[in-house]
């Protein structure tokens, strides 16, 4: 269980990037954070990853307070951030220094197979396409078997086809160890495709506006009526979050009713 308690972040220049964030994510749950740019989504992930310090509040993983990068927390950035001097397989193995060479090899080979890049194992990152590079970055985070995986708009720079195939790769990897996933996106379709819950955020200061459960069965079919209904619900919430008059989200009851309807 990942718990964020009264988390706030004010940058040195006085920007209130986050204010009083409270969120619990069950083990194995996929939560997607949605919101326009400047909502503090990246800031929130950086706090959880331990790359920045919160101004106030606490981050707990299974009851243990996190303060700094933790072996059980992995992150995939918006850019692949592969090390250009390492081959694809060495990039994936980057966080596996502490285990034996044979196990490392096995895990990397397995990850390469899962992301479908086995034949590219020995190539340099510069020889891969953007989508392939991002797959390697996801594999690099997965091979350490993190309990929590953070993804910051990892597919935003890719075309729709590549994105759809990466969704499948991501879910394929997730199926194996079922880590908790926090996925930042500004793509509602993406959120509904992947997540168990959508958390809609609002800017200035960054805070949570509303949470919507997405209880569709997997695998999800984008042409299904329930899928479209969910997309519409998230869009409505997003829409309300942008209007200053709607400070309070519609309450749980309506939503439950809507969820039960189909």
């Amino acid at each position: 269980m990942l718990e964020l308690e009264h988390l706030s972040k004010t940058y040195a220049d006085g920007t209130r990037a986050l204010s009083d964030i409270n969120l619990s994510v069950r083990q194995g749950e996929i939560v997607s954070l949605i919101g326009g740019s400047g909502c503090g989504k990246t800031t929130l992930l950086r706090l959880i990853a331990g790359l920045d310090q919160a101004s106030t509040g606490a981050i707990k993983l299974d009851g243990e307070a996190l303060s700094g990068p933790h072996p059980s927390v992995g992150i995939v950035f918006q850019e692949p951030r592969l090390l250009p001097w390492l081959s694809v397989s060495d990039n994936i193995a980057f966080g596996l220094d502490h285990i034996s060479a044979t196990e490392r090899k096995e895990r990397v080979a397995h990850a390469l197979e899962k992301i479908g890049l086995i034949e590219h194992a020995k190539r340099w990152p510069r020889d891969l396409s953007g989508g392939q590079q991002q797959r390697v970055a996801i594999a690099r985070a997965f091979v350490t078997n993190p309990k929590v995986l953070l993804l910051d708009e990892p597919f935003s720079a890719l075309d729709a086809f590549t994105r759809a195939s990466l969704h499948e790769h991501l879910l394929g990897l997730w199926e194996e160890t079922r880590p908790t996933v926090v996925l930042v996106t500004h793509d509602v379709q993406e959120a509904v495709t992947l997540a168990d819950r959508a958390v809609v955020m609002q800017p200035k200061p960054g805070r949570i506006f509303d949470e919507l459960p997405l209880t569709l069965s997997r695998p999800r079919d984008k042409t299904d009526l329930p899928f479209e209904t969910s997309v519409r619900r998230v869009l409505t919430a997003l829409d309300h979050s942008l209007k200053p008059s709607h400070q309070q989200p519609q309450r749980e009851r309506d939503r439950q009713a809507a969820a039960l309807w189909w």
Partner: protein, 284 residues
């Protein structure tokens, strides 16, 4: 005068970086015959000059024709004299290059990796850099005598600054985003330096060492001018005093070849380290 030497060397370092950029788009392909275009002009000039002297249109006493320059070079090589001079020059450059290069790497690494050390060291080093290196010559001769030590010291000083600047600058410009990847995987300071900083600065370090080596060859001439009984620089001075322009030009050609060979060896030796980078390669 010496200031000019130093200045042109600094800008040649930037020039090298600029030259590196376009080759990004170039792919490794079969031999490019257009390279031969570059030889056309010097060969044409040489042939014209040769012809001009042969047909009595020019005297060729102060500007000897290519055939005579090569004859001189060949004669020097046959008596073994050339090799003595080449070896003396090479030894000085290499010793100075190693001393200056190592010092440049160490100080550059310190200054690049610690803000405190940078604030402590950099202003002084920048001030020293402003001094034309040749201005040190009288002092070095007083301190170290007129033989090898003072020559090597001058070369080492010349090599030190481009290497220092290149290494410190390279470390400072390492992508913060890659450093963060190291933080995410909880690398210690030493691991971070070994697994991220070192490989990241290698390409620029090679460029810095190459411009250091270039300056080493520049300064060895100055060092050998200040009194030497052997070395290619001595051949130059001797040729001037004895009125032998063919010997001067032969020595200049030997310098050019030696410098090019040393640079190529450095590039070849460091190639495996920067193979992942497609920009540093196909350069000069």
């Amino acid at each position: 005068m010496s200031g000019e030497i130093a200045n042109s060397a600094w800008s040649s370092q930037q020039g090298a970086a600029a030259l590196a950029a376009p080759s990004l788009t170039e792919k490794r392909r079969a031999f490019d015959w257009r390279i031969l275009l570059g030889f056309l002009l010097p060969i044409a000039v040489a042939l014209l000059w040769e012809a001009a002297v042969r047909f009595g249109l020019a005297q060729g006493r102060l500007v000897p024709p290519p055939s005579r320059i090569f004859a001189t070079l060949l004669a020097l090589a046959e008596t073994g004299e050339l090799w003595t001079h080449v070896w003396a020059t090479l030894w000085r450059v290499l010793t100075g290059f190693i001393i200056g290069g190592v010092a440049g790497i160490v100080f550059g690494a310190l200054s690049g990796s610690s803000e405190t050390i940078r604030r402590l060291l950099d202003p002084t080093l920048q001030a020293l850099r402003a001094i034309p290196s040749i201005a040190w010559v009288p002092l070095f001769i007083l301190w170290l005598g007129i033989f090898e030590a003072s020559k090597v010291a001058l070369i080492a000083v010349g090599v030190f600054f481009p290497v220092y600047l290149g290494i410190a600058g390279a470390i400072l410009s390492v992508d913060r985003k890659l450093v963060e990847v190291g933080h995410v995987f909880r690398l210690s300071r030493v691991q971070l330096a070994r697994r991220i900083l070192l490989p990241a600065v290698l390409p620029e370090a090679v460029i810095a060492l190459r411009s250091g080596l270039g300056l080493g060859f520049m300064f060895v001439v100055a060092a050998e001018f200040m009194g030497a009984s052997e070395g290619l620089g001595y051949l130059l001075v001797d040729g001037q005093q004895m009125g032998k322009p063919d010997q001067i030009l032969a020595a200049i050609i030997a310098f050019a070849l030696l410098g090019k060979i040393a640079d190529s060896l450095l590039v070849l030796g460091t190639k495996p380290l920067v193979r992942w980078q497609d920009i540093v390669r196909e350069r000069l």
